[in-house]
């Protein structure tokens, strides 16, 4: 993913200081056996369903925080320690994973 070069002025404002749920692929990939970025979660706040990759992610605070693209409430938090990880999923009511029978 990396951090990109400048493309112009008014798009660089502080309210663009976020990334998306693609950023969670590594941290969640250590925990889940399937790719989580394509999993779809339902926001406990507004009921909106989004793919994890489409969530709004701020990585400034300790750990990663993913917010609903609709209402901005926190969907999940993941913090990685030396030999453990903490996952807080209270902001989603349900996550749907694609598990095909054969590949």
């Amino acid at each position: 993913m990396g951090m990109a070069g400048a493309t112009g002025s008014s798009r660089d404002s502080a309210d663009m200081a976020f990334v998306d749920g693609n950023e969670l692929a590594g941290a969640l990939g250590e925990i889940f056996a399937v790719d989580v970025t394509v999993a779809r979660g339902r926001c406990a706040g507004c009921g909106r369903e989004s793919a994890v990759a489409e969530t709004v992610v701020y990585s400034r605070s300790p750990g990663l925080v993913a917010r609903c693209p609709g209402c901005e409430s926190v969907l999940l938090r993941v913090v990685r320690g030396r030999d453990r990880a903490w996952l807080d999923l209270r902001g989603v009511t349900c996550v749907e994973f694609s598990l095909p029978d054969t590949e």
Binding site: G2, M3, G5, V38
Partner: protein, 248 residues
């Protein structure tokens, strides 16, 4: 190619084989990662550097190359205050090693089995995962029509200029449109300016072709382009996005 067995994703050691300058402040690193399981075009890796005192810094970088045994290429843009990028672009040399985790990311990937035409829109280093898709298309001998719109500051900052020209000539079915936002080459038909709805219409695919759209770059760029595509009639679920964060 990608290993789907129940195996936990863990950190591996990558060794730098070769480095090549890209654009003005960027670099391609060719890495050897033993037992690399392969990767899909558009996926990324996490890179972790550890200082002698145990301090670690970690960032994500898109894979630039098509899967090729244990070789993985990253193209990294240096940021002024970038902890990891300043090392990768300014200091790392062949023989150096660091930790790498991946491949990850199944959302922002192109499936060569999908016959839909593809629209790629990249801003700055957002071109990197799109380049992986272009390279895989060529490696597979795919006939899927691809259109790339690449926005960059000026000719000096462009990544892979020679390779893009060569692929337009040789790969059959790849169109590339460059958008320069600050300074244009001599004789360029347009003044510098941002990617707008007109360019997306002229250089992209009509919405009723139902293309797969991939938009990558700084967050502001992605927000504007994704909104323009949806406003032009592309279904939101056909527009995949990857945001790299604020520009500077």
């Amino acid at each position: 190619m990608t290993d789907l067995a129940l195996r936990r994703l863990t950190w591996r050691v990558a060794t730098v084989l070769e480095v090549r300058p890209e654009g003005a402040e960027a670099r391609t690193l060719v890495l050897d990662v033993p037992d690399w399981p392969g990767h899909r075009p558009g996926q990324h890796v996490d890179v972790r550097l550890t200082a002698e005192d145990g301090y670690t810094a970690q960032r994500s970088y898109s894979i630039a190359s098509a899967a090729d045994g244990s070789t993985v290429e990253l193209t990294v843009q240096a940021l002024a205050d970038g902890e990891v990028s300043s090392y990768l672009v300014g200091i790392a040399e062949p023989g150096d090693r660091f930790e790498l985790r991946g491949p990850v990311g199944g959302y922002f990937t192109w499936d060569p089995e999908d016959p839909s035409p593809v629209l790629l829109v990249g801003g700055g280093s957002g071109l990197v995962p799109l380049m992986s898709m272009i390279r895989v298309r060529a490696a597979e001998g795919s006939r899927v029509p691809f259109r790339l719109i690449y926005s960059t500051r000026d000719p000096q900052t462009a990544f892979y200029p020679g390779e893009l020209l060569r692929r337009v000539r040789d790969d059959h079915g790849l169109d590339v449109t460059l958008v320069y936002t600050r300074a244009v080459p001599e004789g360029w038909p347009r003044p510098p300016g941002r990617l707008d709805a007109r360019t997306l219409t002229e250089a992209g695919w009509p919405a009723d072709f139902a293309p797969s759209c991939f938009v990558c770059g700084p967050t502001g760029f992605v927000e504007v382009v994704a909104n323009l595509l949806v406003a032009a009639g592309h279904a939101p679920q056909r527009v995949k996005t990857e945001r790299f964060g604020p520009s500077r």
